[in-house]
């Protein structure tokens, strides 16, 4: 960590943004695959805390074990924090508790619908309705979709295919 010559521990502390501010900054980092929602909306940022050594400790969790976006997300988070002037960052990966779509924020769910993706339905593996025309008459095309977190569905009324964010 680079220290300003002559800076005391006390005023170094004063310059540190509080964690609420940092959470707000991270809420501006888009998910690389679904850019309308942020990495915070997605629930993959699990913790932000200042360590005793003045280094920022950021804990991330992967959505799916093999999701290729995981490495990109870690890089994007670090880049965003560096742009805000924080250079002493330690990124941690945490597997437990395992990521669940329950952690998706309400803002994130609303943004998904606007973007044309049906949000995960906690009541089961079936979307509530078509994100375009809101018809409840929908049928599954494929259990897997364009990314590990999505399945392919189709609306039986407007006939448009759409992505469903799988509930796990």
């Amino acid at each position: 960590m680079v220290k300003t010559p002559g800076a005391t521990a006390a005023n170094t502390n004063d310059q540190r943004p509080d964690t609420a501010t940092i959470w707000a900054w991270l809420d501006d980092v888009p998910d690389p695959e679904i850019p309308v929602i942020s990495v915070v909306d997605l629930g993959i940022v699990r913790d932000v805390a200042w360590g005793d050594d003045q280094r920022l400790q950021v804990t991330l969790t992967p959505t799916y074990s093999g999701c290729p976006a995981t490495a990109v997300i870690a890089l994007d988070v670090e880049t965003a924090l560096r742009q805000r002037g924080i250079s002493a960052i330690d990124l941690h990966t945490q597997l437990a508790p395992a990521w669940t779509t329950d952690w998706l924020s309400d803002k994130g769910r609303a943004r998904l619908v606007e973007y044309g993706i049906a949000p995960p339905n906690p009541k089961g593996g079936v979307p509530d309705d078509c994100p375009r025309c809101h018809s409840a008459r929908v049928s599954r095309i494929s259990q897997f979709g364009s990314t590990p977190c999505k399945a392919q569905w189709r609306c039986d009324d407007c006939l448009e295919p759409f992505d469903y964010f799988k509930c796990i």
Binding site: S65, G66, A98, S142, P148, I168
Partner: protein, 254 residues
């Protein structure tokens, strides 16, 4: 007394090599599957398995304590050091074989991971609890397809029965139990593979009945993969393709 480092290392290789080799096999369908949705589904399943492989082999390297990374373990070992079951290294053959192998493996895998998620070693437990969610989805999908194709046309039924007859003798090795497994089970690290067999058979019987397929009655099992005693010739060919870059350009980095 704690479990021996070697037993734990072997356990992690068995887990990670199964997912690595099966992931590689599924990847062979990428761009070649009979329908776009199937292509995507297999690639996604392979991706889940590769992600799980990274967790298992990274931990294996840490446990071994010789500084080997996930990549070293995946790319710099030869056939005799792999500990995957023979089932996963079998060629993809036709789509029926690919799906039947997946079905047999998924249902074993799910039971093993559920047991592991209660492991006394939280490092294994955390990876297993994460993987269970993904593999639950794989198992649902493969059972649905076995039923659809087994109870489908005359041709699809015949192909699925062929695949079952050929692959069922490889299922026995999944439940083989040796001294390493007993050591792990005694310490609450992993369930005894043999203890998973009744639940596996029960699940198999339900799905196969619905799929109008007959389970072979012969209990002969091909073995030798998970102990490293003897792999089939197919693993060498798979590794030659998977590891060609490190073989052609040793030490090459991304």
């Amino acid at each position: 007394m704690t479990v021996s480092t070697d037993a734990l290392f072997q356990c992690l290789l068995r887990l990670g090599d199964n997912t690595l080799i099966l992931g590689q096999r599924l990847g062979e369908w990428c761009g070649h599957a009979p329908a776009l949705e199937e292509d995507i589904a297999l690639a996604n399943t392979a991706l889940d398995l590769m992600g799980q492989t990274r967790h298992w082999l990274t931990l294996a390297g840490e446990v071994e304590g010789k500084g080997r990374s996930e990549d070293d373990l995946a790319m710099l070992r030869d056939v005799w050091d792999f500990r995957n079951v023979l089932l996963v290294e079998q060629p993809i053959r036709d789509y029926g074989h690919t799906l039947m192998r997946q079905f047999l493996f998924d249902h074993y895998h799910l039971l093993m991971l559920r047991g592991l998620s209660e492991s006394a070693d939280s490092r294994l437990g955390d990876i297993a609890a994460k993987s269970v969610k993904e593999v639950t989805y794989h198992a649902e999908r493969s059972a649905e397809l076995i039923i659809a194709l087994g109870d489908g046309t005359e041709e699809s039924h015949m192909r699925m029965q062929d695949a079952l007859d050929r692959l069922f003798p490889f299922a026995g090795e999944l439940f083989e139990t040796d001294a390493i497994d007993e050591d792990l089970a005694q310490h609450g690290i992993a369930p005894l593979p043999s203890s998973l067999r009744p639940a596996f058979e029960a699940q198999l019987d339900i799905v196969l009945a619905e799929a109008t397929l007959s389970k072979p009655t012969d209990s002969f099992a091909h073995k030798g993969g998970r102990t490293g005693f003897r792999h089939t010739e197919h693993l060498g060919h798979l590794l030659a393709s998977m590891q060609w870059l490190q073989r052609a350009y040793p030490g090459a980095q991304w």
